[in-house]
Structures are given as structure tokens and as C-alpha cells.
């Protein structure tokens, strides 16, 4: 039987659209499921009160503080390193063996599973450097993990700054660094910020790398050296040990809303950036 290519085309197109629709539905289902069961648990008290009974009652305030502290440290360390690498790769060198090594290193680092970052952070920061389970150990480990993302997004952002900007700056007698720091970087800033925001999202959601480096103490952290539980770790412990399903749903809802906001922010910023240069 000769197949009719036009009919095949119609059928295939319908099947592919259905599969794409399924993917989107899965996403909507996950978000809706968590928000519908979790949001009713979230109130001002949930966000501002400390947990009681290992999290069975009370709120999640210390875990919010812990999450913010860890993320802040990770970003403060990884951003200068990542942006610096991107500047070197784009402005200070041609494609060579050296840049290939640097890129391959960043790519490999991006592929390393978070549990291995956790193992590494545990052995180096927690044990060898005697920082213990602490915000500092966790933040350092996270900074290594998000570095490849920041390098890649900053490199793309810097590359998309039109060459004319650099030429004009150079023709006015500016040195390389003056051009980079006063012309290229300000123009690339929205793109770089997008990468940083995405890394914030990744840090907030990370569990495996954090649980073995920052620990899981439930009290409010008082210094860089106190152990602290992040929201994601708290959620994991609540759900896995069956401590409290309502509080697990509530914590999950806070996590998902935060991730949603972060994605919307980075997407609008990126869009504005792209529109400016195309």
C-alpha cells in the first residue's frame, strides 16, 4: 500500500504536537500540584516563625535565612571568577589551545553531579580545612558548582556587545581595560545579571551538595561558621522522614514560587537585552 506523504505529515505533526503538549502539561501539573496543596499552609507566620518539634509545627524562618546566606556567599565568590574568565576568553585572547582547555574545564565542571561536589566540599572544607558543617563550607561548595553557568552566560553576553563599541572606544585612545570596564561590561550587564539570577535559582534548589557541607542544624545561624539548614534540605528531611506533610507542602510551595519569580525575572531581563542588540 502506497503511503500518502501528506497524510503521514498530518499524523506525525499531530503526534509531535501531542508530545510537546504532554511536556508542557507535566510542567503545569507539577507547579499546580505543589502550589494548590502548599500555598494554603504558607502565611506570614510560616515565613517568620522558627520551626518547632523538628519542623512538625511552626515555620521555616531559619531555613530562609540559611538559604539566603549560602546563596549570597556562592554568588559573591563565583561572580568575579566567572565574569573574569568570560572577559579573558572574549576580550584578551584568540581561540587557541589555551582557550580550548579553559572551556573544556568549565564544561566538565558543569557536568559533575552535585553529589560529587558535596563529597568534595565535605572532605576539603568540612574536614581538611576544619570549617565544619557551616554556611562558609556550603557557600564555597555552591560557588564551585555555579561557576560554569556564570562563565557561559557572561561569555555570551559579552560576545553580543557590538564590535563597534570597542572600536570607537579604542579609537578614542582608551586602553583595553578602560574599554572593557567602561564600555563592554556596562553594555553586557543585563546579560551577565541573567546568568547570576539563574545561578541563584540553582543554589536555592540544591540539596545534595549542601546537606554534606552546610549540615542540617535547625537553629538560626549566627555566623559564617554555624551549621545551617536550607529550605531545600528542610523540605527533603520533612518529606523523607515523614515529619509533617503539610509543612513539607508549604516549604515546597515557597521553593517553587521563588524559582518561578527567578525565572520570570531572568527571562524578562534577557529579553530586553536581546531586543537592545538585534
Amino acid at each position: 500500500m502506497a503511503r500518502n506523504p501528506r497524510l503521514t505529515q498530518k499524523i506525525v505533526q499531530a503526534v509531535l504536537w501531542a508530545m510537546t503538549g504532554t511536556t508542557v502539561l507535566i510542567l503545569i501539573f507539577i507547579v499546580a500540584f505543589i502550589l494548590r496543596r502548599g500555598l494554603p499552609e504558607v502565611g506570614l507566620g510560616f515565613l517568620t516563625r522558627p520551626p518547632e518539634n523538628m519542623g512538625a509545627q511552626g515555620g521555616i524562618f531559619p531555613t530562609i535565612v540559611g538559604t539566603l546566606a549560602l546563596t549570597l556567599i556562592a554568588i559573591l565568590i563565583a561572580t568575579p571568577l566567572g565574569v573574569g574568565t568570560a572577559i579573558y576568553l572574549t576580550e584578551y585572547t584568540r581561540e587557541s589551545r589555551l582557550t580550548r582547555i579553559i572551556r573544556f574545564g568549565a564544561e566538565c565542571l558543569a557536568g559533575i553531579p552535585s553529589i560529587l561536589f558535596g563529597l568534595f566540599g565535605f572532605i576539603l572544607f568540612v574536614t581538611k580545612l576544619k570549617l565544619g558543617w557551616s554556611i562558609l563550607s556550603g557557600g564555597l561548595t555552591l560557588s564551585f558548582m555555579i561557576l560554569p553557568t556564570i562563565i557561559r552566560t557572561s561569555e555570551e553576553a559579552i560576545r553580543s556587545v557590538p564590535a563597534a563599541y570597542r572600536e570607537v572606544s579604542a579609537s578614542l585612545g582608551c586602553t583595553k581595560w578602560q574599554t572593557v570596564s567602561r564600555v563592554v561590561l556596562p553594555s553586557a550587564l543585563p546579560g551577565i545579571t541573567t546568568g547570576v539570577i539563574l545561578s541563584v535559582g540553582r543554589s536555592i534548589g540544591e540539596t545534595a551538595a549542601v546537606i554534606f557541607t552546610a549540615g542540617s542544624a535547625l537553629h538560626l545561624p549566627t555566623s559564617l561558621f554555624s551549621s545551617s539548614r536550607t529550605m531545600a534540605v528542610h523540605f527533603y528531611i520533612l518529606a523523607r522522614e515523614g515529619i509533617s506533610m503539610p509543612n513539607a507542602y508549604g516549604t515546597a510551595a515557597v521553593l517553587v514560587v521563588t524559582i518561578l519569580l527567578i525565572n520570570v525575572a531572568s527571562y524578562t531581563l534577557m529579553h530586553r537585552f536581546i531586543r537592545k542588540y538585534s
Binding site: P5, Q9, Q13, V15, L16, W17, M19, T20, T23, V24, I26, I30, V31, F33, I34, P80, L81, G84, T85, Y88, L89, Y92, I102, A106, E107, C108, L109, G111, I112, P113, S114, I115, L116, G118, L119, F120, I123, F144, L147, I151, T175, K176, W177, Q178, L198, G201, I204, G205, T207, A208, I211, F212, A232, Y236, A239, R240, A252, I259, N263, Y267
Partner: protein, 285 residues
Amino acid sequence: MTRLERNDRLVRLALLMIAFSAVSILIVITVFIFSEGTPVMFRHGPGRFLLGLDWYPSEKAFGLLPMIVGSFVVTAGALLVGVPLGLACAVVLTQFASKRMGRILKPAIELLAGIPSVVYGFIGIVVIVPLIRDNLGGPGLSVLAAAIVLGIMILPTVISISVDAFQAVPSAYREGSIALGATVWQTIHMVLLPAARSGIVAAVILGMGRAIGETMAVIMIAGNAAAIPGSPLAPVRTLTSNIALEMGYASGEHREALFATGVILFVIIMALNTLANRASSRRKG
């Protein structure tokens, strides 16, 4: 002027040093994990680690074969779920979807990548595991549950890299095929898929790496029994879960054996990265 020039040279030097941060971190991680994990392997013999069937850390039996098989079985399942869905999305995004549709689909897929793995694991426990237990039998915590959840988790990786692969195909290929009277689907499977093949291979390999490396979601839904699973409904323990489950309380040789598990995981991931790198550079070269 000389001050400025000297400044410029200093900045260049500083940036060069910073540029090596990623490579140096990679090297330090490799050194630490290997130096913690390999001595115990050689003390007991690598064969007993890699091919041993029994994992009883308290009796110094460190056989990792069930976890190695577990990781690959779960990953194969994840690819069965994730690759067809992912490729379909990539084809629709690059060939069928209007610009406006793309503006909805792309952020949706990015959001899928942003959802924390513990949330996926949780959805697995409260939705997928009961579904399997009630309809197919068994404990529910199983290879199948892990494969489904991981299949969804690798979608963003598979989609974004295969979208790049499709977009890298020169548009003249597509136009030529359409001009010869081929339908869009004929063009896709006879022209675009072969032309984008190496990129798609890279997408699959990196998706595989993502699935093998995933930890928290798998721990929550796979059941974690340290034995080779006999069926898709049997529980399974992966290399990553083996580390995460026992790291909290392990000490001495037991802890070293967990680092040895990390060494095996590391080698698998690096091999996959290198393969993916080869596959995608063949496209450019």
C-alpha cells in the same frame, strides 16, 4: 600613559589567572576524590569493588556491581522516556511552532530545568509511586518510578541541545528539500535528522550524564535496595544514592568505600562528557 599601560598589563595577568579557576577547581576535585577513594579499592582489589555483588559495609564487603547496574538500568529507562519526548519538543520548537508559540514553550522548558530535584522526588513519592503500586503491584518505589521521574528531569538538557543541533543545520538544506516537493516531515526525517545527528547524539549523552548524576530525586523514589533489580517494579540503588544514603554516618573504611563509589561515578561522567564533546565537535569540524 605608562601607568595606564602597566595597569593594563596587570589586569591581563589577573584575568589570565582567574580564567584558570574552573580548570583548577576541576583538578582539585579530581585529586581529592581520587586520593580518598582509590586506596581502599586497591587494598581490597578493584575487581571485588567493581564486580562484587554484596554491599555489607559493616562486614567490609564493598561490592558495587548492583549500584553500577542500577545506575545504568535507571538511566536507560530515563532515556526511553526523555529522548522521544525531548526530540519531539525540539522538532516542534524549531519546525512547527510559530514565533509566538515558541515564546511560550521556551520559558516553560527552562522552568522545568529550574525546578529543584527534591521537588521532582516529592512528586514521585506522592503521585507516581502510589500509581505504580496500585496499578502494577510491587512496592511502587522502583526502577520504573525512577525512570519516569528522571526521564522528565533530563528533558530540558535533551531539548536545549537538540534545538541547537537543529538550528545549526543550514536553512538551505530545508529550503532545498521543500522546493523538491518533500513534505515537512519528509524533510525532517530525511534531511534535518541526519544533518543534526551528531548534535542529537551529544544531547542524548549529556541527558544520560544528567540522569546518572541525579541524586536526591532518585533516593526518594527508587527504593534503594542494594541488589540488582529483577524487574522494572523492583527497588534499585544507584551509585549516587549509595553515597548520599550512607555519607551521613559512615566512617573509616566505609567512608572511603563511599568515595570509591564517587570515583566510579566520576569516571563514568567524565567518559560521557568526553564523548559528548567529541560528538558535537565533529559537527563543527
